[in-house]
């Protein structure tokens, strides 16, 4: 089949959505990428991401379906786009493809208080959604740090986790039913499905099997009470023990979050960006500090010796700050807080009172959506979240640190706590001789961290998804399950147009044998 011309695609799209599309260079540039830090390095190297042919803003599932049918007929790749806050390249444009921005599907279709479910369209932005629910005395209980700049559809597509996942679960635990447009341009609902359980198939599929147009999600009454606390743990191991015992006792705290030694130092540091070293480091990591030329040079020089920095970090006192938030009815919030106190005191922890919990809550969304200032200082920063069972947490933490410590400065916190284990959220920062050298180092760090994670049998992602950044390790993680993906892809996306190249590299998808 002949490659369709951009004009043919544009005319076809226009016949579906009228003016709600764009082929202008600024729009195409804006929609060429998500917040994958690697893209920034690509730009610095002079290798910016490919721009899409067009950007479309449908307002209904029917329009989405018509767009998919058009693209399937012309074999034009589609990248579904929520708010572009993904950090793995999942929404990065595909050569010769279009971007379908779903943010104008933004209605709440139904709030059912008897069933405690809400049906919401995929483009609803998280913070507005939660505010709307709050007005009805409800909460989804899903609070990703990116809540201000991510959508319901993006959460479901990337299997997102909110800060209160220990109580409310990850987004996959909240999904009752999905409305999706599959690659044949049909609008389907998973709740009426037969043959397979489709909710866990589309949840996490990152736009490769269908475009999610609406989700029915479980909601809860707003908690009547909250209790906050901070604990100084005598060691990381002791803190992990408290987290494990709490969850295995069947308790459901909203937040249990523990920082490793370096992260504890930074979180606890009172000095601001103008003052001490720690404050500056903290501000730089967060991308908020003022960075003049002198400080830039100092930062670069420090990061140029990651081995030395990590050596110093390894010699910090092994104490850890554990922040807890419990909520629910007054009785439950108190009960859970008291039970945690029993476990914490038993390991010799020091009660720091309410302040650390309250401070965390007040700053819970203070992450920066702007690119970190480290890039301007000639350095890079990224995060990497993995998960495993309790007996594997410390070995995994040390294995990943060891694997990357010759390349970057690394710190971590432990959060998203479940009865069976938790996630480790690493932050790393490094530099290089020039942008190309930085990009090589960045790639090496990811490779080494993922290798170390796979070698320990742990999950290579807890909530950021796979996109492009982790797809290299999907075969090692899933083995023959890649055949399931191939079969799902052949059935749901026969033309192969839905977010191609994401999750699995094309060469890693075995050929599906049957199909029709």
């Amino acid at each position: 089949m002949a490659t369709p011309t951009p004009t043919a695609i544009r005319d076809g799209l226009r016949s579906i959505v009228g003016d709600r599309m764009s082929t202008t260079p600024p729009d195409r540039t804006a929609y060429a990428r998500d917040l994958w830090p690697r893209t920034q390095l690509d730009r610095l190297v002079g290798d910016p991401p490919e721009r899409p042919l067009a950007v479309v803003w449908p307002t209904s599932p029917e329009e989405v379906a018509a767009i998919v049918r058009l693209c399937a007929a012309q074999r034009v790749p589609i990248v579904p786009f929520g708010a572009g806050s993904g950090v793995c390249g999942g929404a990065r444009a595909v050569p010769g493809g279009i971007v379908v921005d779903l943010k104008r599907l933004k209605r709440i279709r139904r709030i059912d208080r008897a069933a405690m479910v809400v049906e919401v369209e995929a483009g609803f932005v998280g913070e507005r959604f939660e505010r709307t629910l709050e007005r009805h005395g409800l909460t989804l209980g899903h609070f990703p740090s990116s809540i201000l700049c991510s959508t319901v559809g993006g959460w479901v597509a990337a299997r997102s986790a909110g800060q209160c996942s220990s109580r409310y679960g990850k987004i996959e635990d909240m999904v009752v039913d999905l409305e999706v447009v599959t690659g044949d341009g049909r609008i389907r609902r998973t709740a009426r499905a037969g043959g397979l359980d489709w909710n866990p198939i589309f949840t996490g599929s990152e736009g490769t099997l269908g475009l999610i147009t609406a989700a029915t999600l479980r909601v809860h009454a707003q908690p009547a009470a909250r209790a906050f606390r901070g604990w100084r743990m005598p060691s990381v191991a002791a803190g992990l023990e408290v987290m494990r015992r709490t969850m295995q006792a069947g308790l459901r705290p909203a937040v249990m979050r523990m920082y490793d030694s370096l992260d504890t130092l930074l979180v606890g540091s009172k000095d601001d960006a103008k003052g001490g070293q720690l404050g500056r480091l903290k501000a730089i990591f967060a991308g908020t500090g003022q960075v003049d030329a002198l400080k830039q040079r100092a930062t670069r020089a420090a990061l140029a010796s990651p081995r030395l920095l990590n050596f110093a970090v390894d010699r910090l006192p092994d104490t850890a700050l554990l922040v807890t938030v419990t909520e629910g009815s007054e009785a439950e919030a108190r009960r859970t807080d008291e039970a945690i106190a029993d476990y914490a005191l038993a390991v010799g922890a020091l009660d720091l009172g309410e302040q650390p919990g309250r401070a965390w809550m007040a700053h819970r969304y203070d992450v920066s959506y702007k690119q970190s200032k480290l890039y301007r200082a000639g350095a890079f920063v990224d995060t990497f979240e993995v998960a495993t069972t309790w007996d594997g947490i410390q070995p995994l933490y040390h294995a990943v640190r060891r694997a990357v410590s010759a390349e970057v400065l690394v710190m971590a916190h432990f959060s998203h706590v479940y009865p069976g284990g938790c996630s480790i959220y690493f932050t790393f920062a490094g530099t290089g001789r020039d942008p190309a050298d930085m990009r090589r180092r960045y790639a090496r760090v990811w490779q080494q961290a993922l290798d170390a994670t796979v070698a320990r049998g742990a999950a290579i992602a807890h909530h950021h998804g796979a996109g492009l950044s982790r797809r290299s390790h999907m075969p090692a993680t899933h083995g023959e399950a890649a055949r399931w993906f191939a079969a799902l892809k052949a059935a749901c996306d026969p033309a192969g147009i839905l977010n191609p190249g994401k999750l699995f590299a094309p060469d890693d998808i075995p050929r599906a044998e049957g199909g029709r």
């Binding site: 008897a114 069933a115 405690m116 479910v117 299997r159 997102s160 986790a161 996959e172 009752v176 599959t182 499905a193 037969g194 043959g195 397979l196 866990p200 198939i201 949840t203 996490g204 099997l209 479980r218 009454a221 494990r244 295995q248 069947g250 629910g328 009815s329 439950e332 009960r335 998960a387 069972t389 309790w390 007996d391 479940y418 009865p419 069976g420 284990g421 049998g457 742990a458 999950a459 992602a461 807890h462 909530h463 998804g465 982790r470 899933h478 083995g479 023959e480 399950a481 055949r483 399931w484 079969a487 052949a490 059935a491 749901c492 999750l503 075995p510 599906a512 044998e513 049957g514 199909g515």
Partner: protein
Amino acid sequence: MSAWRFERHPRLGSGRTDGRRWWVRPGRPDALPGLLTAAGRWRPVYGPPDEIDGAVIADAETLIDISALDAVRSVAPESGVVHVEAGCTWEALETTLGRRGLTLGPVPRWLVGRPIAETLAAGPPARPSPRYGDVTDGLLALRAALPGGLTNCAVSPRRATGPDFGRIPVGADHRAGLITDVHLRVWPVEPGRAWRRVRFAGWAEARAAALAVLADGIRPAWWCLRRALRQVSLDMQFDGPRLDRQAERLDALLAGFDGQADPPEAAERFADTRLWRPGAGPTVLSAVQHVAGPDLAGAVEGIPRVEVWDLRPEGATVHVAREAAAPPPDGAWADLAERVFAALDGAGEGGR
């Protein structure tokens, strides 16, 4: 006398045959991909061929008996994870765990005698427990054999690496591969256990009271709503270290509803007929489960024997003692599922 005789098959190895089909009994999961490749139309079974219902295996060329794949491979008490082969039965697993002070949570008596692979392939079995979750909540990893090899799965409480591949064979009747082994979440056996029974005038009142219990953060280890005489009773079992506090809170909460409390022993006796205890045999309470929406009273209207174990605000799983029509699956989805299965088996063979 059995019509089945031992013979050697050129590709399957040694097995038994009745002249029309073969029965093989692998001892290791990694033998399965090879077997699946050579097996033609296969069907998993759980025991010797003479004991198997003929209708189940009517069109199979090879019966793959996975009853020897029943090892409890490892138990990690700290993580609360057991790794077990899928031919193991639920009560064999619970017995092994019990010796180590661990439990899966309440195991319904109707799962007794049934292997893990069979129940998972038939669909997520109801082991509803507000405190311990259901089986799929506790399924930390699942491996399956496909003709090309074994699937892999990181053992993790949660992950974000694409779709939840470990859920694909659940409910797929082995058409998406043969489940070989699973990692399940297990819990420490709690020091105490308590029961409660409260009777209400109708389903709506009982449902409201039960949901108020959940909303207050109280998590019974097991509960059951059912019609008893002209009323609806709510029976509950609690496990935990702080039962006195839970009970106090529960009683205060239920006092706000128009219910009538029975002695706890009545609930305990009833739980003993429904939940597996060491030495207990199976019950055949529920042939049919179906899923109801929030209008529970409407969903059970006119059905004489019905029990509800899994109750959430958005709906319930209703166990009915006699055959009742389940809603038909959506044709469009069944068709899509068929395309997935076809893509998986290529030649149109494979497990059913």
